[in-house]
Symmetry: C2
Subunit: 205 residues, 2 copies
């Protein structure tokens, strides 16, 4: 018989603990999204969950470790939406259009991204390295996508893959910022379709 009383108790506690950690992650996402990392407080996060700041720190050790967990968890949520890096070419851009549709359904995720991105611009910020690496990788994947579009004969003439990659990354971030600032001022998906249409031949919908 597997499962002594002690084990059950441990397992039950572990399940509850995981649920609590998840609740803390949700709350931390909200707070860091709204106030950033530096100005967001552990106490505010704790209040959202209904415990004290000491309780939060018990689960994650430090505020910094909590930030790392939030970034990691955010990536896990967004990853399935992103185009598979191996299916490069125009499929990548179609995938990014799916991301654009997802953004308005989860404003907290977009807000978290923009807030921490701008904040982490400071080299002393705890998430600085994270974002530098992330952007290097993403830009590289986009360059590949535009190069593959060229071999697919779908890249419009005169378009430089490197510059198009930087511009595409920039458009996605900039549109999110405009949308967060004033949600009805810009249709992210439509603007993105127009952007891509000037660079490549998108497949028919």
């Amino acid at each position: 018989m597997a499962g002594t009383t002690a084990e059950k108790r441990r397992r039950g506690a572990s399940v509850a603990s995981e649920a609590m950690k998840q609740a803390i992650l949700d709350a931390a996402t909200d707070v860091f999204a709204e106030s950033g990392y530096r100005a967001g407080s552990v106490r505010t996060i704790a209040e959202k969950v209904g415990i004290t700041d000491a309780g939060v720190l018990h689960h994650f050790g430090s505020k910094n470790a909590l930030l790392a967990a939030v970034l990691e968890w955010r990536d896990e949520r967004v990853a399935p939406l992103l185009p598979d890096p191996r299916t490069s070419g125009v499929e990548t851009f179609v995938g990014l259009l799916r991301v654009a549709e997802y953004i308005p359904t989860e404003p907290g995720i977009a807000r978290l991204h923009c807030t921490l991105l701008a904040e982490s611009t400071d080299p002393t910020h705890p998430a600085h390295e994270f974002f530098v690496k992330r952007y290097d990788r993403t830009r590289g994947e986009l360059v590949d996508a535009f190069r593959n579009a060229a071999t697919q004969r779908r890249l419009k003439p005169g378009i430089d893959p490197e510059l198009a990659a930087s511009a595409t990354l920039a458009v996605m971030d900039g549109l999110q910022l405009q949308w967060l600032l004033r949600p009805d001022a810009v249709d992210i998906r439509k603007a993105l379709v127009a952007h891509f249409s000037a660079l490549v031949e998108l497949p028919e919908e």
Copy 2:
């Protein structure tokens, strides 16, 4: 004879006061650019100027008023670089290329812009209204510029002025973010030229 001793003294004090206010504005620009408004402290600003926090607050009344002064002063510095809103059309885009050249020479200005823009996405942020109005106006000017480019027969076929305006604004912000994150990863001016070239016929250089 204008200028009694009392008046001279007052005037001298006023000149010194203006110089001090200017020094505080410079320091506040640095601090807000690096840490944002909420996480940046009056004390840090004061230390940069060589006075105490009480001294800083004497000149501007409150941290919030200091932020307003920083935003206003930043606009005064950047305004002469921007294209005259009346000379619309492709001249506008040439003007934006000048801005792109200016950015790397004044990283603090770019950093201030990006940091406060993202932070002010929160509706409760003291600069929220400022940025909402600013972006509405700038986007409107860009729409006009693309429409004028159309009447100049320089707009490429199939380009929507509204969407092109949003995308252009987005590209400028996004490229600045990428450049701040990793200055040698992107050439803002080259990427911007490529972006415009896909939308309009730029004049020969």
